[in-house]
């Protein structure tokens, strides 16, 4: 890890994350996946929005963009379409990616542009101090839901799949080795990939909801996550309250920037 830190992290510690936060584990999983694939560091761009997870871009030694709340995907789309040779990785959170950025999320998936989105799901708005997000489970406590949340949470993996994502995966901070593998597969996939990274927020989500400390929350991830393979052998009853991890969906569809090259070719031949 020390070698990876030296190679891929900017000397900008200490980070802003709270003690026990899982974002550091997810960030290092992204780095390990990049290293595993041997991506050219000078041809790899990391784009984030605003929120706890989105601060990761500033710690990583690539061309990086810390954009606006919810708007990482349009910016990343512009970078990728303008220069398809760049590997573009997007870091977002549950609030950033599925509330304020929800429209961009479905449309970027629909377009099947070759971006890899790692959505850090800590079930809460951490940066602003514990308000509920579209991925906060129903009946959770939040500073803006002192009597419990009424809304149902998105299943963000299903949302991405329904919107047209051609690669959907999920991992957790606890299963970090597996997360590395799923992220690496997502980056290798030629199309829009969404990887939901379940991470713990012991301070702003855990404390309000009596979920225990960071290690307890990590153990909860261990106990509730079921691999895609194992899930196939379990009944609906046995899967109650569990979630699946691994590669959840993979399909083939034309990639947007390659399709656009076809448009250029047609336009230059004078054909429509």
């Amino acid at each position: 890890m020390e070698k990876l830190i030296k190679k891929y992290y900017r000397p900008r510690l200490p980070h802003i994350w709270c003690p026990g936060c899982g974002n550091g584990i997810v960030t290092s999983s992204i780095i390990k996946a990049i290293d595993k694939l041997g991506l050219d560091q000078d041809k790899t761009v990391i784009v984030s929005g605003i929120g706890c997870s989105s601060r990761a871009s500033g710690y990583l030694d690539f061309d990086t963009v810390h954009s606006l709340h919810g708007r990482a995907l349009p910016l990343a789309t512009g970078i990728k379409l303008a220069d398809p040779d760049l590997n573009v990785i997007v870091i977002t959170g549950d609030g950033d990616g599925t509330a304020i950025g929800g429209n961009h999320f479905i449309h970027t998936a629909r377009r099947n542009i070759n971006l890899t989105v790692i959505l850090f799901n800590n079930n809460i708005y951490g940066m602003t101090g514990g308000q509920y997000s579209p991925l906060t489970p129903t009946d959770s406590k939040a500073t803006t839901a002192p009597y419990g949340t009424l809304e149902r949470a998105f299943d963000v993996a299903e949302l991405a799949k329904a919107a047209g994502a051609t690669f959907v995966g999920r991992g957790t901070a606890f299963h970090s080795q597996m997360l590395v593998d799923v992220i690496a597969q997502g980056i290798s996939h030629d199309g829009f990939s969404l990887i939901e990274a379940v991470t713990q927020c012991p301070i702003y989500y855990g404390r309000q909801n009596k979920k225990g400390d960071a290690s307890t929350m990590l153990k909860t991830q261990r106990d509730n996550a079921v691999t895609v393979e194992a899930a196939k052998k379990l009944s609906a009853e046995q899967l109650e309250g569990k979630f699946t991890i691994g590669v959840l969906h993979k399909s083939e569809a034309p990639e947007y920037t390659k399709q656009y090259q076809g448009v250029i070719d047609r336009a230059q031949k004078g054909a429509k």
Binding site: R10, R12, Q41, D42, K43, V45, V47, S57, G58, D61, F62, D63, T64, V65, H66, S67, L68, R71, L73, P74, L75, A76, T77, G78, I79, K80, L81, A82, D83, D85, L86, N103, H104, H107, Y260, V263, I264, R266, A267, Q268
Partner: protein
């Protein structure tokens, strides 16, 4: 060999962008600017560029900012409601110093207003639409040929000062058709972005030269820059200290203030012996030329100071104008916006009369003539 064409203002804006070397457009359809997107959709792939219709106005400007970071010249176009939605990203491009050009073809507002009718009601939004302290460069073409030339100028300014430049058309100019002599695009100098002069290890992405503008490294070239909307220091990384905050806000302003003479553009029409000066811009200026000619036939000494760059506002030139005329008239298609700036610059030296029209119709030469005669 150039060509003589009959073009619409929106079309001339799109062609000006292609002539300036634009290779990326992202936007969203909105009346009365849609033709710009339509033309770019057809023209860009012909020149090897890229067009994308995004899911909303915010995504349109977000994508052009992303493309600009890779070194491309970029355009997005919109009108009132979309201009409102783009404001947060205009602030981002200002603080992160990303060159972009935004064409806003003004229509009647607020809100949905009158989508197909002209207005000049976004002039103050252009100046103050995004939050915080920041400078703005905004240009207002008054003819189809000027839509072409000012669009090219917008790229010179945007690339030079590393900031958004607003092309403030109005529906009159955007949809009007006129003859235009278009030079061969190869003969047009393409605005160039100032790049790093040192190796990546030595490079500080926000260390400004003496002109207040830092050289910009394109993404993918090994400079590994961090771009953020947070207050940052010359390294580009967040720095929330009072010292860094003051230094950044000051530099952003001063790079424009110190170059105001270079940015300022205006036209003087029959002002030499004028007693009455009409200060106006955009589509309204078209009626002013005719009104001035009619007034002079009737013995009234009227002339025009036409604003071409509206922001930064040419205070010095307007103050000078106040020294030599007896009264200033400011016709505009709003309840009174730029007239306030004129008054500020004139400092009470001569009367400044607003001529506001906000009924969705242009000001006719005759109306303006009557107004001037009744002063």
């Amino acid at each position: 060999m150039g060509k003589v064409l009959l073009l619409q203002g929106n079309q001339a804006c799109a062609e000006g962008a292609i002539a300036a070397g634009v290779t990326f457009f992202a936007g969203y359809p909105i009346t009365p600017s849609t033709e710009i997107a339509e033309i770019m959709a057809k023209r860009l792939p012909e020149v090897g560029g890229k067009f994308i219709q995004m899911e909303d106005e915010i995504a349109g400007i977000g994508a052009v900012i992303g493309a600009s970071l890779t070194g491309k010249k970029v355009l997005t176009a919109t009108s009132g409601p979309g201009f409102s939605l783009k404001q947060e990203f205009i602030g981002y491009a200002t603080i992160a110093e990303v060159p972009i050009v935004i064409a806003n073809v003004q229509r009647v507002g607020p809100s949905t207003g009158q989508p197909t009718s002209p207005a000049q009601g976004d002039m103050m939004q252009a100046r103050w639409g995004t939050h915080g302290d920041h400078p703005v460069i905004a240009l207002t073409p008054a003819s189809v040929p000027e839509c072409f030339t000012l669009t090219i100028k917008a790229y010179e300014l945007s690339e030079k000062f590393r900031m958004p430049v607003l092309l403030m058309l109005d529906e009159i100019i955007g949809h009007m058709r006129e003859k235009i002599e278009v030079p061969d695009y190869d003969t047009i100098a393409k605005p160039v972005r100032k790049g790093p002069r040192v190796a990546p290890s030595e490079f500080k992405p926000y260390q400004a030269d003496s002109d207040g503008v830092p050289p910009m490294a394109d993404f993918g070239k090994g400079y590994r820059c961090h771009v953020t909307g947070l207050v940052h220091d010359e390294t580009g990384f967040p720095n929330g200290s009072p010292k860094a905050t003051e230094a950044l806000v000051k530099r952003l302003h001063e790079k424009v203030e110190n170059a105001i003479d270079e940015i300022t553009m205006y036209e003087e029409y029959k002002l030499e012996d004028a007693d009455i000066a009409i200060v106006t811009y955009g589509g309204t200026a078209r009626s002013a030329y005719a009104a001035i000619d009619m007034a002079r036939e009737q013995g009234l000494k009227v002339g025009m100071f036409r604003l071409i760059s509206v922001w930064p506002f040419p205070e010095k030139e307007i103050a000078k104008l106040a020294e030599k005329v007896k009264v200033i008239v400011v016709p505009e298609l709003n309840y009174g916006q730029m007239v306030g700036e004129v008054k500020k610059a004139v400092e009470g030296k001569v009367p400044v009369k607003p001529m506001s029209k906000y009924d969705s119709e242009p000001i006719s030469p005759k109306e303006l003539l009557e107004f001037v005669k009744n002063l």
